[in-house]
């Protein structure tokens, strides 16, 4: 018997924060592994039609996850995530940044701090804070720029 998945997306404009909640009809172990094992993480991290290629995943406090998202036209968007706190099977936090293929951060694009929380009954809570800036928007001309490239759906 499968329970319906719950997806919540809570926006607090005043706090400039977004909370995403998702339930999975699965035990905690594989859900946790999906975030911490590069072979699994790369299978789902990129929203379609993007694909994620992980160059390094050092899942520990102070470690870094370096990857890129590749679009159908071959456009690549490099990002890294620096882990700050890690509590196995409970939560982890850190911040992600855009960067080049050597992992050199792009200071003109904002960092996003977020944390992921896990609970035994198949929940992942992701809280993203966006200080001090929000992402730059895509204008017609610079399609594929930054996160908007990753977010691009349809034609």
């Amino acid at each position: 018997m499968s329970k319906a998945a719950i997806f919540n997306f809570i926006v607090q404009k005043d706090a400039r924060s977004i909370t995403v909640e998702r339930s999975f009809n699965a035990p905690l172990d594989p859900v946790w592994a999906a975030w911490t094992n590069a072979d699994i993480l790369c299978q789902w991290w990129a929203p379609k039609p993007y694909e994620c290629v992980i160059k390094a995943l050092d899942f520990r406090e102070g470690g870094r996850w370096l990857y890129y998202m590749q679009g159908p036209q071959g456009d690549r968007h490099w990002c890294f995530f620096d882990y700050e706190t890690v509590r196995p099977k409970s939560h982890f936090s850190g911040s992600d940044s855009f960067c080049d293929e050597h992992g050199v951060g792009n200071d003109t694009k904002p960092k996003v701090s977020w944390e992921a929380h896990f609970s035994k009954n198949g929940w992942s809570h992701i809280g993203a804070r966006h200080p001090p800036l929000w992402f730059t928007r895509r204008t017609g001309a610079d399609r594929g720029d930054g996160l908007q490239g990753r977010l691009h759906h349809g034609p």
């Binding site: 998945a5 977004i18 009809n25 789902w44 929203p47 929000w134 730059t136 928007r137 977010l151």
Partner: protein, 125 residues
Amino acid sequence: MDRLSLTFSALADPTRRAILARLSTGAASVNEIAAPFSMSLPAISKHLKVLERAQLIARGREAQWRPCEMKAEPLREADAWIEQYRQMWEERFDRLDAYLMELQAKSADAKATSAKTAKAKKKKP
């Protein structure tokens, strides 16, 4: 700062949100806007400047009475961005969900197979 960032920083302040709520009911002068707040006119003007820079409001041109009115376009853009962000997480988690389902189906198969094998073994003398 890009326009979307301007929109969100402008909205991050409760006074400015209250001003926008007031202006959503119609144009008003600075004095009218300031009336419900225990704040000096220069302080209110500062907030109005932030809103104006974010293009959330526009000021009239008359020198004496410069009514402020609300502009909805930046808010619509902010909402569009949020919607894209929501879609990204939804699709990402749908992919994770599909993976977890597949994993469970595989482990169920493996269990069934090993149960069969165990049964078969038992039958053997």
